[in-house]
């Protein structure tokens, strides 16, 4: 049974990984903790609900990231770019306002009641995996998340836009001086970050129930993951996300009420021990 509990942790960690890698990309480049990330995730889940209702879950997995990427473009063009000279905190608070609005808009469109999305037919029920009967859909989430993480890393490491993103995340001013088109890089990053949030929402839809509080529930955890992972480090966020998912699940098995405090304790300990996060660049 312990292997099954470990899988539970990995499944939750996978979700956190996808969600926080998007947030970490935006945070790294724009220096802004995007408080609207939870709202983007929620929007992804609700759009997935509407799409899979009509055209099936697989199409939702395709449509949702695209729709959210468009939202990301809007976010970048309407707020991040014109206000890039403002302090990071101000921009963060603007996304806070956006999150408040987005949450309410989701309710106005989809209503208040709890909704659920069924996984595709062949992923319903359980699969035998290393001797355990484990839900097929959770295994699918793990596989998708790992593939996605690998793809993201390959993209960042071996393409020229990936190189530019990494350079700009290190030092946006120097990158601009070196002739990197920071505006373009930033547009791509925010769009991809939002798309990842949406994808996480779509993946989460059949996993957990949809309700208007779902964004908030994850937002704080994911912000914590990104800060713990280290500002600007996508790999750090992924590792921290997976780690937190596993630790939290293991703690839940042991003491559910203590597990609630785990993310906060983790953040406090890590920031006191290493103020820049586990893999953070030096901020001088």
């Amino acid at each position: 049974m312990n292997a099954a509990q470990l899988l539970n942790g990995v499944a939750l960690g996978s979700l956190l990984m996808v969600l926080s890698s998007g947030l970490a990309m935006i945070y790294g480049l724009r220096g802004v903790a995007n408080f609207a990330h939870g709202a983007l995730y929620m929007a992804g889940a609700y759009i997935a609900y509407s799409v899979s209702d009509r055209a099936g879950f697989w199409l939702a997995l395709l449509v949702v990231p695209l729709a959210l990427a468009v939202l990301g473009v809007v976010l970048e063009l309407a707020f991040f770019r014109p206000l890039q000279h403002r302090s990071h905190i101000e921009l963060g608070l603007i996304t806070f306002g956006l999150a408040l609005m987005a949450e309410r808009l989701v309710v106005l469109i989809w209503g208040e009641s709890t909704l659920r999305v069924n996984p595709p037919e062949f992923l319903q029920g359980t699969t035998s995996f290393v001797g355990i009967e484990y839900p097929s859909y959770r295994l699918a989430i793990i596989v998708i998340a790992v593939l996605l993480a690998a793809a993201l890393i390959v993209w960042l490491r071996s393409t020229s836009i990936g190189l530019h993103i990494r350079a700009a995340s290190q030092d946006i001013e120097t990158a601009a001086i070196m002739g990197i088109n920071v505006d373009r890089v930033s547009l791509v990053v925010v769009a991809v970050g939002a798309a990842l949030a949406g994808l996480a929402g779509a993946l989460a839809a059949p996993y957990i129930a949809l309700d208007p509080g779902m964004g908030n529930a994850f937002l704080i955890t994911v912000l914590i993951v990104v800060v713990v992972g280290g500002i600007g480090s996508i790999a750090g966020a992924m590792i921290a996300g997976m780690g937190l998912g596993i630790i939290q699940t293991v703690t839940t098995v042991w003491s559910p009420s203590l597990a609630v405090v785990v993310p906060y304790a983790a953040l406090t300990i890590v920031l006191l021990w290493r103020p820049t996060g586990l893999a953070g660049k030096r901020v001088s």
Binding site: L93, F96, V107
Partner: protein, 347 residues
């Protein structure tokens, strides 16, 4: 050479005008005089606002203003934004609840105890967080206050906090809060002097501190923490003192809130309470001491009048964005700028 790269410092655009320097005793005396006049004039409010319901809104806003000026003080003088002040407000409120209901203390003593509890929590949290700045500070205050929230709703905390169900304050009928019995404290007209005196005294205190040498030290730390250290100043101590002071002011608010409402529930410890108060303070503006108060009154007014169908957050979100984008100094900051422009124009 001077780079205009964005920083984690909020002061550049959001805190419009520097506060006055130290040693201007004349100005301070005039200010104290004005504060006293405002305090006395304010006591007449219940005779103007005779309607009980409106009066209760005014009292609510006054109590919440204490939370907002606590947050505003840190933002103005240290340029750091706290999402954790709900913890001090809430801890003080629970302190009052526990002292009266569980231990049978008199409400007056309990309020003192509540303020001590809130301030104590601020001290502990301050020791952990004041080294951080920018987002680090924001996240740490958020995380620690959430942790406190999570602890307060634990089943094991139930005898003290009532967990999710909250806590109903009860004390003997012959016990009073500064002469007000249990039915009287819920009467906004009778409770008003307590709330009003608390707010004016705390606000004046913060104002005087801001003008003092200590205030200048804080400003120096806000502007350039490293240079302060290289100029021989310790920066941890002053930051901690400022943090605890602002937490104490929020605690005063929390303790009064508990007495006035007669009920404490975990949502006052939570993130949305501190978030609402921060938004109110931002909309009012950090640059002036009265900014957060103006913001809080507007927020309470909006809450009472525009909360139909739960759309309040739609409106507050929109307002927050509009204010941050178009009037970064908040309402009072914008008026201040207009005023200065007019004066310059006349010259």
């Amino acid at each position: 050479m001077t780079t205009t790269a964005p920083t984690d410092d909020v002061t550049e655009t959001m805190v419009a005008v520097p506060p006055a320097g130290p040693g201007r005793w004349k100005g301070t005396l005039v200010g104290l005089g004005i504060a006293l006049a405002v305090l006395l004039a304010g006591l007449a409010v219940p005779y103007v606002v005779t309607d009980t319901y409106r009066m209760s809104l005014v009292v609510d806003a006054t109590i919440l203003s204490l939370l907002a000026i606590g947050i505003g003080f840190l933002a103005r003088h240290l340029g750091i934004i706290s999402l954790g002040h709900g913890a001090f407000f809430g801890a003080a409120a629970y302190g009052v609840g526990i002292a009266t209901t569980n231990w049978g203390w008199s409400p007056t003593t309990a309020v003192g105890f509540g303020i001590l509890v809130g301030t104590g929590i601020a001290l502990v949290m301050g020791l952990l967080v004041v080294r951080a700045s920018g987002f680090g500070f924001l996240m740490l205050t958020l995380a620690l206050s959430q942790a406190l929230y999570a602890l307060s709703v634990q089943t094991s905390a139930r005898p003290l906090t009532g967990a999710h169900d909250g806590k109903l304050l009860s004390y003997d009928r012959d016990q009073t809060f500064l002469g007000l019995g249990q039915a009287d404290v819920m009467n906004p007209g009778l409770f008003w002097p307590m709330a009003w005196v608390a707010l004016t005294v705390c606000a004046t205190l913060l104002w005087v501190v801001g003008r003092s040498r200590f205030g200048t030290t804080l400003e120096g730390i806000r502007e350039n923490e490293e240079r302060m250290r290289f100029s021989g100043y310790g920066t941890f101590g002053p930051r901690l003192v400022a943090f605890v002071l602002s937490g104490a002011v929020a605690s005063v608010g929390g303790a009064l809130f508990a007495i006035n409402a007669g009920y404490v529930s975990p949502d006052i410890l939570g993130f949305s309470k501190a978030g609402d108060s921060l938004i109110a303070a931002l909309i009012g503006g950090f640059g002036l001491l009265v900014g957060p108060i103006v913001g809080t009154f507007l927020f309470v007014y909006a809450q009472a009048n525009f909360n139909f169908g739960g759309n309040l957050h739609l409106f507050t979100g929109m307002t927050l964005i509009l204010v941050l984008v178009f009037m970064p100094g908040g309402i009072t900051g914008t008026f201040q700028k207009l005023y200065h422009r007019m004066r310059k124009g006349r010259r």
